[in-house]
Symmetry: C4
Subunit: 232 residues, 4 copies
């Protein structure tokens, strides 16, 4: 198979043993991380990576947050230039408690998709579609679908990814059952991450110099409220 031959040669050492992973209490994809860290920015050395990973019979799912990117404005302030996301990484089992990370499929949840996931009722499902070539001539060639469907009886959800490649005539599917407890971890971690991937935590961080030096006994009402909704 073409697809396999493309990925397997360089990845045999990256097949990870679940026993080792469970012992250390945390899975890391060192190759992936260092690559993406290099892509990221020059300050990779200060970066920290964290994820939440569940290993199931046929596949595993790892979830990790990605920071937004700020840009400097001419005023010296900065603003969110690109929202962060929550990256879902699916990778298949290739033996008992062995997973092949090289066959991974990625799905990056936008803030609104995160909102959809954390507000999902016990019997509800949702589905997201991504197209890497959106708005280009290749639009529709590759189609990613993430669907979340209830396991039934308030018992968790199935997370299913499907990647259809019309050019390569392939359709990859992976499915990971998530227990109610695991989904509670995801919901809590995603709710925590949401304001951060939108940069709200940074917008809400005050700076040491910000308290005005005017004594509190002098009310500042003579000046119009600078953040007023009435200024246009």
């Amino acid at each position: 198979m073409l697809r396999l031959s493309r990925f397997l040669p360089s990845t045999s050492r990256r097949v990870c043993d679940l026993k080792e992973v469970l012992w250390s209490g945390s899975l890391t994809f060192e190759h992936a991380l260092s690559t993406s860290a290099a892509n990221y920015d020059e300050n990779a050395s200060a970066r920290k990576f964290a994820s939440y990973t569940v290993f199931k019979g046929k596949a595993a799912l790892s979830i990790s947050p990605i920071l937004p990117v700020f840009s400097k404005l001419e005023s010296g302030a900065s603003r969110v230039n690109r929202n962060g996301s929550v990256m879902l990484t699916f990778f298949p089992a290739v033996g008992q408690r062995k997973y092949d990370y090289a066959k991974k499929q990625l799905f990056a949840l936008s803030p609104t998709e995160v909102g959809s996931l954390i507000s999902l009722g016990p019997a509800e499902s949702c589905e997201f579609f991504h197209d890497p070539s959106m708005k280009s001539s290749n639009e529709g060639q590759v189609k990613k679908t993430l669907s979340i469907t209830p396991l039934g009886s308030d018992n968790g959800y199935f997370l299913n990814i499907s990647v259809m490649n019309n050019g390569q005539k392939t359709n990859e599917r992976m499915s990971v059952p998530i227990t109610k407890a695991e989904f509670a971890v995801m919901r809590t971690a995603l709710s925590f991450a949401l304001p951060h991937i939108m940069g709200w935590d940074q917008a809400l961080t005050s700076h040491p110099q910000s308290p005005s030096s005017a004594p509190a006994s002098r009310p500042r009402v003579e000046r119009p409220n600078p953040d007023s909704e009435w200024d246009r």
Copy 2:
């Protein structure tokens, strides 16, 4: 139309193209931001701006948090002098996927209004009234109303703004439908922002020197509890 002529001349370059916005993953209103940053304080250069924006057929809505302002007390400590808020910015569509930010209408949610929004039940609605000239001779001349009404069947809400100007005989209205997923983002971001716009995050930040140097083995019961509710 008078209203149009007031805003259009200077704003043609600020009509933003949705395609561009969606590609960059985040909308920014540079002109607006740099202006308001200049108003704010001298430390604008350290400021960071973030928002959550949804684009719909007839209008868009952008939500962003605004920090509280602290004032120094004579003791050297500081306290909240003016609460922050969550600013809602509505701006109309002026073509397919084109929006005119110059025709924006602002509505600044107070902490209690944020509390109202985040505790809204699926079938409930709420309405807020703001008057920029409250307690002045112009009271009642301009009236802003924000109403939030359910879309039905636990499917999200309509956010409607109306700005009635008795002097100019105008009544601007914009309405943005918010899906359940988008409202979950708003609820999560606003719940996160609420303690921050009230300054509680800063009041709850301990300072490096705060641990007392008394060894833990020596209980400090001889001194009355300084934060006691019994001192008056």
Copy 3:
């Protein structure tokens, strides 16, 4: 009245005008703050104060968080020596939109009392009793009671304080109706404050040096897990 004479002389200047307070968007009790800051510790100058205050017809209620106190251990680490709290301050109206802060009554919520308040169902009520002389010979002389009772129809709560002083034969009562929206602010702010008043935010803050310098490729399984539940 004895009680009044005790408080009124020095407090005429502290009767605050609601109009002024509403304009500035935040109430502060400068005298109270600077006094308590002085009691607190030497680093008062770095402290920041924030509150959430609601003004009603007969009384006002202000809520503000109080930090825990840490003590140094012999190892150089530190631990919570006294939990923080959330202070409720009730003060009566003494005219239209005028309040007398000198007649205030305080009630400091412990972490568990905060837990009780934030988990209160729409039709539930709760009641807390405090005795400043607990475990002393004066036990029972003064008794504070805070009760929270539903307003009915999922419309908020009454917060009632009663301070009974057997020695002075007085029984002060104040009652403040809290809307559903205001209670949502309280619930959100108290949920945010809870981990902080217990010091969990500080216990969960990592220190710059904490990442081990061992390269990630060398698993550290040869050493027993130091945080293991199996060590005794």
Copy 4:
């Protein structure tokens, strides 16, 4: 009894008096803390400890968060090498308001176990099993069980620990009733702790240098999105 003789000799001084504990508002286990701090890392001096402790008739339960451990990657970045946990410490009453901390039993909740606890419905129960010798020749010799069962009528839960030692033919059991208010504290503190014990707070902390220096007016669309789900 063998078990008693093993623990009592060195621990008489560590029997703590509840009165003292309640007065100081916070329980600390100094010996335990300094020992575990020494195990931890070299930076123990900067560490802070916090817990939430409830004292009941037959036993007490203390809950405290434990940080994850990060490891440096070759790139200079770091990643979670071992997840943190939330440690439950049970210790029995040995007299009226006296507890023997030396007879403590520990149970460290993993992120998923924390997820199970915080998503527990009012009438639901859950049970966790830990084996210190998992995957070794002694597997099954010692078995720890934590079960959480409802008290009934939405009134809280029983937290029961059982430690069965087949070699020593012992089976220790302790049970602590937790009120609804106390469980709300646990749920709030654990929800707060969860992203921290997984290291997400650190992964979501931006670094001062991270805003790109490119002016905001120059969109960076020419470069492929580095965090894209489309890169493999």
